[in-house]
Every structure is written in structure tokens, then in C-alpha cells.
């Protein structure tokens, strides 16, 4: 066992992760071995239509006879109330922000994602650890530390990144629900002008995603297109993946 206190530079969640396995720090009491399920993550900033696309994918997959489980960011039974409360009271700092995300993720990984994968479900994840990596990265959290922190995550079989440009992103977020404190990066004290802060934050976020798209080889989709065009592209790629991975397809109704 290593007694080094300095994190090795080459561990943690990174592009070398083997699809469907722990990135680098296996949870010792939860060995994975081989399992029949598939993990598909849909990443992207706010306003790219992730939940719409996931709902359509679920429908499409279930019609084909696949069991589908959805999991969503910060929606664990354990942590959701705490995260909501902490965000509304602005008591977070950049470390606790990331650690609360990690706790929520661990809870869902152990209780939802891994059991579903072992039972043969296709898990559709609305956002994945890349959201934490991006938000932490923008806030200046040490990159190696946060990658080690999420080293216990499973590298998804597929990661789709719904990408939009800064201008479209800003308009969509404003249209959907306006700027909120955290999504404007106001905790980062980028400036007193909330709009300028919001813009600077979203721009930095897009930059983080762009660098991860290379690092983790995301499948990048242009999210400015129509919903059904994006959906067709998702289905085409997922169908090809499922066909080639020779997943044990459940019996069909037809």
C-alpha cells in the first residue's frame, strides 16, 4: 500500500478510463466484474434540452424492450435537500460545493446506477461527473484533486455532449428561468454586474467542457439544431453501439 500523501498525477477520472469500469479507485466492497447493463451519459450546460432528449430516448428504448433507469444530478434521496438548502443559503465554498456533488453522486452510484447495471438496465444519466469537473474547474478547484475524488466513478459506455455556443446558451437560460446565483457564478465574485458575471461564468464553463470533450472523447452534438434532428442522431449512435456490443437484448413484444 502506498503511503504517499501526494496524489499521483496519472490517476483519477481521466480519458484513459475503461468504459463500464471504475476510472481508477474501485470501491473495494463493490467489485464490478462484468455486468449486462450499459451506462449512457448526456452532458451539457443548462438550456441544451438534456431532459427532453432523455425522455425521448427512454421511450424509444423501452419500445424496443430495453429496461431503462434514469438518474439525475443532485437528485439522491440522501443529498438533494441538503444541496438545495446549501445553495439557497449561499453557505458553500468551492470545496464543499464539489464534495456535496460527490456525496450525491456516490449515493446514486451505489444505490441506483450499479444495481441497475448489474440487473441489465440501460442507465441514462442526466449530467454526469463532468458537470462537477466543469463547475469545479471554473472555480479553481485543483484539477488533479477533483479527478481523484471522482476516481470511484464508472467510465460511461457513451458520453454525449450537447454543445451550444455562448450566445445561444445565455439566451436559452434567460428565457427558461433567468439567472440564478450559482449559475451566474456570483460566488466567484467576477463582478458586481450580474449579467457580466453570468456571461463570464458560462463562457468559462463552455471552455471547461470543450477541454473535457477532447480529454474524455465525448460524442459532441450540435444542440442548436431541432429536437428531433438531435434525437435521430442520438438514436443512430446508440443503436450502433448496442448492436456492436451484442448486449443481451430482452425479448421483444413483437
Amino acid at each position: 500500500m502506498s503511503s504517499s500523501t501526494n496524489p499521483p498525477e496519472d490517476t483519477g477520472a481521466n480519458g484513459a478510463g475503461k468504459h463500464g469500469q471504475y476510472y481508477s479507485h474501485a470501491i473495494p466492497y463493490l467489485p464490478l466484474d462484468s455486468y449486462p447493463g450499459k451506462l449512457i451519459a448526456i452532458e451539457g450546460t443548462d438550456g441544451v434540452g438534456r431532459s427532453t432528449q432523455i425522455a425521448l430516448l427512454r421511450e424509444w428504448l423501452e419500445v424496443q424492450g430495453y429496461g431503462v433507469v434514469e438518474t439525475g444530478w443532485t437528485r439522491s434521496e440522501l443529498m438533494a435537500p441538503t444541496i438545495d438548502l446549501a445553495k439557497s443559503s449561499n453557505t458553500l465554498n468551492k470545496l464543499t460545493f464539489v464534495l456535496l456533488y460527490a456525496t450525491d453522486f456516490a449515493d446514486r452510484l451505489e444505490k441506483e446506477i450499479i444495481p441497475a447495471l448489474k440487473a441489465g438496465f440501460i442507465v441514462l444519466s442526466d449530467r454526469y461527473i463532468f458537470t462537477a469537473l466543469a463547475r469545479g474547474g471554473v472555480r479553481g478547484v485543483d484539477r488533479q484533486w477533483i479527478r481523484n475524488l471522482f476516481g470511484f466513478a464508472i467510465a460511461p459506455h457513451l458520453v454525449f455532449y450537447l454543445r451550444i455556443d455562448e450566445k445561444t446558451l445565455i439566451r436559452r437560460v434567460l428565457q427558461a428561468r433567468g439567472m440564478d446565483y450559482w449559475e451566474s457564478g456570483m460566488d466567484m465574485k467576477l463582478g458586481d454586474d450580474i449579467y457580466e458575471s453570468f456571461r463570464a461564468y458560462q463562457r468559462a464553463l463552455l471552455k471547461e467542457y470543450a477541454s473535457m470533450a477532447d480529454e474524455f472523447t465525448f460524442r459532441v452534438l450540435d444542440a442548436r439544431r431541432k429536437v428531433d434532428v438531435i434525437q435521430d442522431e442520438l438514436r443512430r449512435q446508440i443503436a450502433a453501439f448496442l448492436a456492436e456490443s451484442a448486449a443481451p437484448v430482452p425479448g421483444r413484444a413483437d
Binding site: 441538503t82 465554498n93 470545496l95 464543499t96 456525496t103 449515493d107 484533486w145 470511484f152
Partner: protein, 215 residues
């Protein structure tokens, strides 16, 4: 201050704080798992016994990060002596005993401030159990490691779990150079050893003079 439940470290810490304050040192105390931030989640998780070794570990790390930024670093910057009732070593020992990856939990806490002095109150498991039982303390589910399912008997589970924690602490003594106090001796004797250790890091050898000056 490190040590398993029933090691007497909280008693020792209180006596040390009294001594330091008497000598005119500004003291700030912080206690493991005491931040308001994760209180609700920890309570819910404990009540439902739904915490896993990983979420248990991460909740404590969140608590630690919160306290580090509000209760450790500011008083240190203000020139105070921070007395921490448990520190990162508690997580290293407990989480590893629960089956969390040893390396991962060390990396998790790599943002922590390295203490100037880390004192470990070492006590055999029998002594610890006797002390806790004598105080009629009901062993709690997670403190007794009952989440691990090793025994349905709380005392037996405590013995097994804390036995593993003690093994981890022994490893930490070498790895991080913890100062060990034999916590079987009398309270007064332990405190004498403790104060000697602390005084090596402070200029308070002449305690009586300092008290006279401030009087």
C-alpha cells in the same frame, strides 16, 4: 487529538485547553462532524441507516472542508491555537476500516492543513469498552460499525470495528509520525505527557510566570 471512542481524548483536550487559556494563549476548538452544512443529511442517513461507507466518508469530508475554511484556517491566521477533536486521521482510520480505498481517502483529504502536532491517545479495545460501558453510554449504530453487519450485538460489533480502526491508527503512527500517548494511564499522568508534547511547539514552559504576568 486522535483516538477511538473511550480513549479519553475529549477529557484530555478539555484539560489542555484550560491550561493553554490560563497561560494566556488564545484557543479555538473544533470538533469532528460538527458543521451545520451536512447535519441534516447525516441525520437522515443515520436514521434510515442508509449511509454507505463511501457516502459516510464523503459527508465527513464535506464537514471537514467546511470547518477547515471557517473554523481552522481563520483562527490560525489570527494567531490562535486550534485544538481539533479528531482530524483527518480519523477518516483515514475509520473509512479504511469500513472498506474504503486507503489511497483514495488520503487523496480526498489532501487539501487539509498539516497539523503542527498530532497526538494519538492509544488505548486497548478492552479498556475503551469498559470506559464506555461504565458511563452507560449506549453504543451508536455507526460508531459501533453495525452498518458493516459483522455482528448484531452492539458491543461485539464495536470490538470488531474499533479493533480494525486501531490497526489503521497503528499504521498512521508510522506513516504520519503521530505522537503517541499511552491512554491507559491516569488522567493526570496522560495530561502531563500531553502538555510536555505541546510545550515543545509553544513557548509556555514557564507556565507560572505567564500566569503571574497576566494576573
Amino acid at each position: 487529538m486522535e483516538g477511538i471512542d473511550g480513549s479519553g481524548k475529549t477529557t484530555q483536550l478539555a484539560l489542555l485547553a484550560k491550561w493553554l487559556k490560563n497561560a494566556g494563549h488564545p484557543v479555538f476548538q473544533t470538533e469532528w462532524n460538527s458543521s451545520a452544512l451536512v447535519k441534516a443529511a447525516t441525520k437522515t442517513g443515520k436514521k434510515k441507516n442508509s449511509l454507505t461507507p463511501m457516502t459516510f466518508s464523503l459527508l465527513h469530508a464535506t464537514d471537514f472542508a467546511d470547518r477547515l475554511l471557517y473554523n481552522v484556517i481563520p483562527p490560525l491566521k489570527a494567531g490562535m491555537i486550534v485544538l481539533a477533536d479528531r482530524y483527518t486521521y480519523t477518516a483515514f482510520a475509520r473509512d479504511t476500516a469500513r472498506g474504503v480505498d486507503r489511497r483514495w481517502v488520503r487523496e480526498l483529504y489532501s487539501f487539509a492543513v498539516k497539523p503542527d502536532l498530532a497526538v494519538y491517545f492509544r488505548v486497548p479495545i478492552d479498556v475503551s469498552v469498559d470506559r464506555l460501558l461504565a458511563r452507560r453510554i449506549k453504543l451508536k449504530f455507526y460508531e459501533a460499525g453495525m452498518d458493516m453487519g459483522w455482528s448484531s450485538n452492539a458491543i461485539e460489533s464495536f470490538r470488531i470495528f474499533q479493533g480494525k480502526v486501531l490497526d489503521e491508527y497503528d499504521r498512521l503512527v508510522d506513516e504520519y509520525g503521530l505522537s503517541v500517548v499511552n491512554a491507559v494511564g491516569s488522567i493526570t499522568e496522560q495530561q502531563r505527557v500531553f502538555r510536555r508534547l505541546v510545550s515543545q511547539h509553544l513557548e509556555i514552559e514557564h507556565q507560572d510566570e505567564l500566569i503571574d504576568e497576566s494576573a
